[in-house]
Each structure stands twice: as C-alpha cells, then as structure tokens.
C-alpha cells in the first residue's frame, strides 16, 4: 500500500479513538465522576462542538478573532526577526559588540514574554501595540540566541576563502554567514514563533479586548466551554499549518546541500 495512505489512515484511526473517548466522557459525566448534565457543560461532546464551530464560522466571530491574533503574531514576530537577526549576526562577527551586548542579553533573555504584559499595557494601552510589543519581546531572545550560535559556528576557513577573494563585510554575510546559519535560523524561528503565540495569548487573556485569548476568556465567563475548546484546538491547527507551510520547506531547502555523512 502507498505510504501516504497508510499515514493518513493511521491519523484517522488516532482521531477516531480520541473522538470516541471524548464522546463517552462527555455523555457519562466524565465516566461517572460528576452529574451527566455537568459533564456536558465541562466537556461538550464533539457534536455540540461541531455545531458551535459552525455557528461561529457563520457569524465570522471565530475567524475574525483568529485573524486578529495571527496578524499580531506575524507583526511581532517579523519585528523580532528584523531586530534579532542583525543583532545576532553583529554579535557573532564582532567580539567587541559581543562583549558589550552579552551581559545585557544574559539579563533580558530569560524573562518570559508574559512578564512584559503589565508594562506593555501601561506604556501602550489596551490594544494592538501592547500585544505586538509583548510578542516581540517574547520572540526576540530565541532568535538572537540561535542566530548568534549559528554565526559562531560558521566555518572560519570559508570566511578566509572569501577574504582571499577580496570580499567585504557585507559580501561575507551574503555568501557565507546567511547560508550557513539557515539551519540555526529555522530552530530559532520555530522557538520564537512558539514564544510569540504564548505571549499573544497571555496579553489577550489579561486585557487586550479581542483576539483568540480574549475569546478563551469569554467562553469561560459565559460558561460556553465549547468555544474555549474550539479556540484551543484552533491554536494547535494553526501551529501545525505553520510547521508544514513554513518550516518544513525551509528545512528541505537546506537538505539540498547539507552533507549527508
């Protein structure tokens, strides 16, 4: 049998089992732990969820809020790349810059993006700017760390070859640094994007008045468990899509030349 088909059927089987257990849990009051009615409230069965999903797609409410969060993540993440990549490259290439920035970086890097939420709200008010700021702060450190590590591990001899060819600083970056750090960038971006999503959800849970995190809260406050669960699952789906549409192709690209020893 065709391998893709096998993979697909296996996936179907996994989800079928998950849905069955879910359905059972929902209709037996979480296997007899609570009343059946309360069980349905805590964990709506897949059918109820599907109806709720359809309702929210029809009104555009769900997609609108996904779009809001997605746009924030993309803005904040791109900002983090635009700021973080040059900083990482400069730190890697110049010992002076590295020595100067490293202590500062050591202090700021471990701070979780969510910790910036109150400050961001104070500075930017409850809105887009605050969310973008938090996302940028959250995604910046993994991007800088991985870029820096990649540059530090560039083959010194390749740079010597370029210097012999009279290459200037920018040409060394273009012909050698960028191509050799791509694998590091992929893992940096992956981590950074994960951090970005955490940060945006935190910001929207705490106060920014729209987006997916906001809907999560609305679901809780109105006892609409279904919509909360739908948003949670949407997050998973979005992350999976990003992985497949963005990171996997980038990795395939480097497979082209990476030595397969």
């Amino acid at each position: 049998m065709n391998q893709k088909l096998v993979l697909f059927l296996r996936g179907c089987f996994s989800f079928a089992v998950l849905l069955a257990v879910w359905y059972a849990a929902s209709n037996t009051g979480i296997f007899g732990r609570v009343d059946v009615d309360r069980g349905k409230l805590l964990l709506p069965d897949p059918g109820t969820m599907a109806l709720e999903l359809w309702e929210n797609i029809k009104t555009g409410y769900l997609l609108y809020n996904i779009w809001v969060s997605l746009l924030r993540v993309l803005k904040g993440f791109c900002l983090a790349v635009v700021i973080g990549m040059p900083i990482g490259i400069l730190m890697g290439m110049s010992e002076t810059i590295r020595n100067f920035l490293h202590p500062i970086f050591r202090l700021f890097a471990p701070i979780p993006g969510a910790a910036w939420v109150p400050l961001a709200i104070l500075w930017f008010g409850l809105g887009d700017s605050a969310a973008v700021f938090i996302i940028t702060m959250g995604a910046l450190s993994p991007i800088i760390t991985n870029t820096l590590q990649g540059v530090m591990e560039v083959d010194e001899k390749l740079i010597q070859v370029l210097r012999i060819m009279d290459a200037g600083g920018w040409q060394i970056v273009k012909y050698c640094i960028i191509p050799s750090i791509i694998p590091y960038l992929v893992s940096g971006f992956r981590l950074g994007l994960g951090f970005a999503w955490r940060a945006v959800i935190a910001a929207e849970l705490v106060g920014v008045p729209n987006g997916m995190g906001y809907v999560l809260n609305v679901g809780r406050n109105t006892a609409n468990t279904a919509i909360t669960l739908i948003v949670i699952l949407s997050l998973g789906v979005i992350m999976m899509l990003m992985e497949n549409l963005f990171f996997t192709p980038l990795e395939c690209f480097t497979e082209n030349w990476k030595s397969k020893e």
Binding site: L158, Q160, V161, L162, R163, I164, Y175, W257, S259, K260
Partner: protein
C-alpha cells in the same frame, strides 16, 4: 617575486604548565628565502613545524611577528585575489553547486555576467569538470572536490597559487592524476606556486625547488633545486636518488623531534 625576509612567528601556548612563565612558543625562526616569478616551490618538513603558518603569512591571513613578507616588493598587509589558496580539506561552499563555487570570486570582484560565464567555463574546462556544473560538493569524491577548489583559485587569474597539502587526503591514484594535471596547468599559465607537502615523491615530481624545514621552531634546513626535465619520470635514477636524499633529511628531523618529545 615573493621575498620572505627574517620571518619570525610566535603562537600562544594552549596548555601552560604551572612552572612555565613564557606563554608563547616560537613556530618560525628567522626564515629567509625568495621565490622567483613563475617558479614552483615546495615546502617540506615534519608535520606541525610551521609550513602552513608560513603559507598563511604569504596569503596575508596571518601577520609576522618579526621580519616581513614581500610580494613584488610590496609588504603583504592582508589577503588578496592575486594570491589564491587551495586547502587540503577543499573548503568549498556546501550550499553552492560546482559552477557557483567556481564563479563566486568573480562575482565578488564585480565582473559582468558575460565575463563571469566565460571565465567560469574556461576554468571548468581546464580541470575537467564539464557535466558536473550543477552538482553539489557533498555529491563529489575528494579528487573532484579538489578540482573544484583548484578551478575556484585559477579562475581569478592569480599571480600566485598557494596550496596547503592539496592532495594529502586523496588516494594515491587520484593524487598522481591530479599532480600531472596541476603541472600541466602550471606549464600553461606559470603561476608562482608554493605547495606544502609531506610527500617527497610529490615534491620532487612537481617542484623547481624544495625548501626543507627543521622543526620547533622551523628554520630553513636546505633548499634543493630539482633540475630534471618535465614531464618527469618517477623511475629515473636521479629522481629516486633525490627523493631518497630528502627522505633521509626528513627522517633525521623526525628522529630528533621524537627524541625531544620523549625528553619533555
């Protein structure tokens, strides 16, 4: 002309013993000799004696601590494409195919597309890489990789070709093939060539002169002229005598080095 005048070089010691106060050790001690335009000179000596260090100084990748290196009367201040280098481990760009590896230097120099294409084709033809243009380095054998590295050097039309044990990692059949091709290339274009090697046979086969170094620190022990007509016959008695003579010099060196190490 390359003039190496009283060149001295120190490196920092990696491992310091407690009682040691001197944090550096001498690699090159007062090296002086000259290489004429178009001459093929080999450096031979015990491994770790400083041959690569001297070559890197000519390339301008490393400054001298004492003395100076002159190329055409000008002090070497940094690397430049008039002195192209070929390394033992090829050092190709893994993300570029053969053609892009070879043309990179021309593009960096800012030549127009037509000239880049013409010169790249010329270099590819010269080292026999036709049909491999689109292949990536990891798909090539060692000998083919070294061909790419040589093409990448000569495409820049350098005055000087610096080669650091270029055939050291190749099997003996490939090595002999490439030696013959290198000498053909050199006869066509007469690059001033410095080749580091530890293979006496290779040195005698290729060189006009062979500089023999002592070790720790390196001094010039002897400079041997090879006055054999080309193409050289490795079975001729003069060839064999010369090779054995150099081998003998090297063995004495190696013995001394071992004795020194045992004393430490």
């Amino acid at each position: 002309m390359i003039a190496i005048q009283n060149v001295t070089k120190y490196f920092k010691k990696n491992h310091l013993r407690k009682d040691e106060t001197d944090t550096r050790f001498q690699v090159l001690d007062n090296i002086t000799f000259t290489i004429q335009d178009g001459e093929f000179v080999s450096f031979i000596g015990p491994s770790g004696c400083g041959k690569s260090t001297l070559l890197r100084m000519i390339a301008g990748l490393l400054p001298a601590d004492g003395g100076r290196v002159l190329v055409d009367g000008q002090k070497v201040k940094g690397p430049g494409s008039d002195r192209m280098m070929v390394f033992q481990d090829y050092v190709l760009f893994p993300w570029m195919n053969v053609r892009k590896n070879i043309s990179a230097g021309l593009k960096i120099r800012g030549e127009n597309k037509e000239s880049v294409d013409k010169k790249t084709d010329w270099a590819i033809g010269l080292v026999g890489l036709e049909g491999f243009e689109q292949v990536y380095p990891h798909q090539l054998s060692g000998g083919m990789k070294q061909r790419v590295a040589i093409a990448r050097a000569i495409v820049m039309n350098p005055d000087i070709l610096l080669m650091d044990e270029p055939f050291g990692a190749l099997d003996s059949f490939t090595r002999i093939n490439l030696q013959e091709e290198l000498i053909r290339l050199w006869e066509k274009n007469h690059y001033t060539t410095c080749l580091v090697t530890h293979d006496c046979d290779e040195a005698v086969y290729l060189s006009d002169r062979i500089v023999v170094f002592t070790s720790s620190p390196a001094r010039v022990q002897d400079i041997i002229s090879v006055d054999l007509p080309r193409p050289r016959d490795r079975n001729r008695s003069e060839f064999i005598d010369l090779r054995n003579h150099i081998l003998q010099l090297g063995r004495i060196q190696a013995e001394q080095q071992e004795r020194q190490e045992r004393c430490l």
